[in-house]
Symmetry: C2
Subunit: 194 residues, 2 copies
């Protein structure tokens, strides 16, 4: 497949490094603090990702003042290159399934600050329809079920349905807010900052 379809990590790393240079260990901490509620980043994917990004020239090692280093303490600080910033912008522009699936939506959302309003809206709507389609399929499957389910299965269904419905409602609010915000500034063509 065309490179970089499912790489959630690439966006996560590039996005984090955009704020400030970091080394692997702290990068992971940041990421888990930011998205720990949704997913858990691990070294097993982080370091290979950093290596790959380094090889692509999207990030670079940053040397601290070498005089202060005494014991040759290894601590590799990475920073975004110009190409990396470009790539990040490119990733932030993409509004496709790779943006609104379970694993990736949170990451994309976390960097919405750097995303264009139009793209934000399309991602939010994409996620919403993804969830609604899931609700549909589960509901119809449930309705077609002949045998009566035990109470645990039922409770699991109920809880799952409720969770997803709740997220849909959350998305509805976000979408409404986005729409409102994009129409409010009649005068002035909005700030195309950075």
């Amino acid at each position: 497949m065309a490179s970089g379809q499912g790489r959630v990590l690439e966006l996560a790393v590039l996005g984090s490094l955009h704020e400030t240079p970091l080394h692997g260990y702290e990068l992971r901490k940041r990421l888990n603090a930011l998205l720990g509620m949704f997913r858990a980043f691990s070294y097993g994917s982080l370091y290979p990702c950093l290596r790959s990004l380094l090889a692509q020239g999207l990030i670079a090692e940053e040397q601290p003042a070498p005089t202060t280093i005494v014991g040759g303490r290894s601590k590799i600080v990475y920073k975004l290159t110009a190409e990396g910033k470009e790539r990040l912008q490119e990733l932030l522009t993409q509004a496709g399934p790779s943006a609104w699936e379970d694993e990736s939506f949170g990451v994309h959302f976390a960097f919405f600050r750097h995303t264009e309003a139009e793209v934000r809206l399309r991602i939010l709507e994409g996620r919403r329809s993804r969830l609604e389609e899931r609700l549909d399929s589960v509901r119809t499957a449930l309705a077609r079920t002949r045998e009566r389910l035990d109470s645990y299965t039922l409770e699991l269904q109920r809880h799952g349905l409720e969770s997803v419905e709740r997220e849909v409602r959350w998305l509805n609010e976000l979408i409404a807010t986005e729409r409102r915000a994009s129409q409010e500034p009649e005068q002035e063509t909005t700030s195309t900052d950075e």
Copy 2:
């Protein structure tokens, strides 16, 4: 690793086949109807899993009346063997991290009907403390954050926190119900526990 640590699929397949014999396609539909809100089972893992279970003798192919088959229509129906039932019981007895992690908890819960009350309780409590520990780490990381976060990041945190808190509350209710149910047969000690 000792075999069968992370295999959520094994339990899912064995558990489903315990109800009634099924073939791959329908097995997947069942599973996705049952757990589609939490995860999506795919053929890419289902068929290899079936093959593995078959090789282990935990499931077996079931022949329909061969006279009615005309065109050599392939439709491989699997059923649980005696060993399979044993293995299923074994899996249902295990209350460990492999039971209360995100991907596996739903599957274990879905078959709680066949699980001992004590094991059910331990899994529910394990899941709860898993979530609380996650809440803790994210909350403290958030509190330690110096820089002020943008509104999107904040909203993501808020939503994530709320979702997890909600699940904890759900678990609390379930645990209370389990406790009540296990004490009902005795005269009540008016337990003011916790």
